[in-house]
């Protein structure tokens, strides 16, 4: 049992620590050679590829890819923990997009003479940098630049829109047990979600903790007393009937200002948690929740 836990911790590698390497994606071979066949093992990168016009070059994706809808038709070749090396090699890719912790896979691909684009999740700046690097690696430099500027403009627009309003001390929840406030995971002071929250006009109530994720106890939640609470759920855990029940859980912590002023919001959708081209939408959704007056 303990072994199971340890194994799972090692393999999922979550949560990332603040001192992890910065999310500079690195290209093993950036000589601009023709890249006709691309395999992406990382959903965020798959989205970026399609966004910068490299979609037609993608020949296979990871098990968890679901956006854009075009990926539905593509073969699946495993994911972070279980990449199917044989199938990857059999598909004869020119470029494979891996996650930075997949060192064994990267070594195997290097031995096979296949170019690797190694990536790690990072904040908003990391997404824009990765987008440009990916453009350079796939021959779509101009489109990637355009896309990066477009996203930056979206983010700037959101930021400008909420600027006049006071910034609520915000708790951003991205996972917890259903029907209980236990085993809650919230955004700490670094990473993508923290950046999005800042842009959307919130001050992270756990901003002082230099980790991507924090697991607050009931006591910590009461003490930190957030003025707004946003729960984001990547998948459809929340049907309408459940939503009321989940919201009512917060009533037990009635001294929290967000609960008393009814500023507990639920947002749903994978775009909220994927550090990719849809982050402008994520920032706007969060801003609408935190500052409805700014969008009237």
């Amino acid at each position: 049992m303990l072994l199971a836990a340890v194994v799972a911790v090692i393999f999922t590698g979550l949560p990332a620590r603040a001192d992890a390497p910065t999310p500079a994606a690195q290209v093993t071979d950036n000589n601009g050679a023709h890249v006709g066949r691309i395999i992406s093992l990382v959903p965020a990168l798959t989205e970026m590829l399609f966004e910068i016009g490299a979609g037609p070059q993608v020949i296979a994706v990871g098990s968890y890819d679901e956006f854009p809808p075009a990926v539905e038709a593509l073969p699946r070749i495993g994911a972070l923990l279980d990449p199917d090396v044989e199938r990857i090699l059999a598909l004869r890719p020119d470029l494979v997009l891996t996650y930075g912790s997949q060192t064994a896979l990267e070594a195997q691909l290097a031995r096979a003479g296949i170019r690797v684009f190694s990536y790690r999740h990072g904040g908003v700046a990391g997404v824009l940098r990765t987008l440009r690097d990916l453009g350079a690696a796939t021959g779509h430099t101009a489109e990637a630049e355009r896309e990066a500027q477009g996203i930056q403009a979206q983010l700037d627009a959101v930021q400008d829109r909420v600027r006049p309003y006071p910034r609520p001390r915000t708790l951003l929840v991205f996972s917890r047990q259903p029907q209980s406030l236990q085993q809650m995971y919230v955004s700490g002071g670094v990473g993508f979600l923290n950046d999005i929250m800042r842009i959307a006009g919130g001050t992270n109530v756990f901003g002082d903790i230099q980790r991507e994720s924090v697991q607050p106890s009931h006591e910590t939640l009461l003490v930190r007393a957030p003025e707004a609470i946003v729960e984001i759920h990547a998948t459809g855990m929340m049907v309408a009937a459940d939503l009321d029940r989940e919201r009512s859980l917060w009533a037990t912590l009635a001294s929290i200002p967000a609960v008393r002023s009814d500023r507990v919001h639920f947002l749903e959708g994978s775009y909220l948690v994927v550090p990719g081209p849809r982050m402008g939408l994520a920032a706007e959704a969060l801003a609408r929740a935190l500052h409805p007056a700014a969008f009237e």
């Binding site: 049992m1 303990l2 072994l3 199971a4 836990a5 194994v7 799972a8 911790v9 999922t12 979550l14 949560p15 968890y64 972070l80 923990l81 279980d82 991205f174 996972s175 917890r176 047990q177 259903p178 029907q179 209980s180 406030l181 236990q182 085993q183 995971y185 756990f206 903790i209 980790r211 924090v214 697991q215 607050p216 106890s217 009931h218 006591e219 910590t220 009461l222 003490v223 930190r224 007393a225 990547a234 998948t235 855990m237 459940d242 037990t252 912590l253 009635a254 001294s255 008393r260």
Partner: protein, 313 residues
């Protein structure tokens, strides 16, 4: 320990304010911290610690094996499988104060206990302790494999939540979950109290016990059922918190001898105090970040137990 622990935490609160009736409860942060965060947590720690330590004592006597723990018989693995299925598939069934995850873990624990019990009992004959042990260990491995499979197929957020559940957590956030587990634990403790003198004879050997007029089969069954009840309730409340159930019984025996009439209540009290103390460390040492309590029990208890072994050896 149980009186002192609610007063200490990652923040300091004023007791005067906690009990100040002139402030409405919804406005009184100190009272909310005390009654919603700390008191349930300390109570949960005491109940779980007492249950696991006593179940460990009973099972070590029943199996006549010093390595037996409340988790040896597959009950906790069954509980874990139930919990992890509930987390991974987002079950939505509730029963009274029990939310889906504790409910599913209770169901899993009962299922595992029923399987092991059915394997090891024959009408009118003593339980085969070797079958009990082997069935338990096999069931543990089998369920652990299923757990790994479910985790492997699940997505990352769920997998990490299941891993976190396996580390144990006493922050139950209210009295509801405790009330859900309490009836089972009360029944288990009543049976423990009835068994303590028969366990003395039983731990010498079943033949000796039979010649001294102990109904061996009945004692064994009650011992198994009561310890399975206590373990199921404890694990469904707080996850499989390790170390308490194996080491507290030995610590108590090192200090208080082998008479179960003393060892059992002593283990219950010591287990409660030990787990409450470990949780106190867990919630304060790195505050505002918490350490999983299952990590603390082994990190604090391990060296202490080794030290005691050396000193007494």
């Amino acid at each position: 320990m149980c009186l002192l622990a609610p007063l200490v935490g990652s923040t300091s609160i004023s007791l005067a304010r906690v009990f100040d009736r002139s402030i409405p409860f919804t406005d009184n942060i100190d009272a909310q911290i005390f009654f919603i965060a700390r008191l349930p947590r300390v109570l949960a720690g005491a109940i779980v610690g007492a249950a696991l330590a006593s179940a460990g004592v009973v099972l070590q006597a029943l199996l006549r094996n010093p390595l037996a723990t409340p988790f040896t018989l597959g009950v906790s693995a069954g509980a874990a499988l139930g919990a992890i299925l509930a987390i991974s598939f987002g079950a939505a069934i509730t029963l009274g104060p029990l939310s889906p995850v504790p409910l599913a873990s209770l169901a899993g624990a009962f299922m595992a206990a029923a399987i092991v019990y059915a394997m090891a009992t024959r009408p009118g004959r003593p339980i085969s302790t070797s079958v009990l042990l082997l069935a338990g260990v096999t069931l543990n491995s089998f369920f652990s494999a299923l757990i790994l499979f479910v985790q492997y197929m699940g997505d990352f957020a769920e997998t990490y939540r299941t891993v976190r559940w396996l580390m144990g957590d006493l922050d139950v956030g209210g009295f509801g979950p405790i009330l859900g587990a309490l009836p089972l634990i009360v029944v288990a403790f009543v049976i423990f109290a009835m068994l303590s003198s028969s366990l003395n004879v039983l731990s010498v050997g079943t033949d000796t016990a039979a010649t001294r007029g102990v109904d061996v089969a009945r004692t064994q069954r009650l011992a198994f059922i009561s310890s399975a009840l206590a373990t199921s309730a404890a694990v469904s409340l707080a996850g499989p918190i390790g170390f308490v159930g194996i080491v507290v019984p030995h610590l108590v025996r090192l200090m208080a001898g082998v008479d179960h009439r003393i060892v059992l209540p002593a283990a219950a009290f010591f287990g409660a105090a030990f787990l409450v103390a470990c949780d106190l460390v867990a919630r304060t040492v790195l505050a505002p970040v918490e350490v999983p309590v299952g990590v603390v029990t082994a990190l604090l208890g391990g060296p202490f137990f080794l030290w005691l072994l050396i000193r007494k050896g």
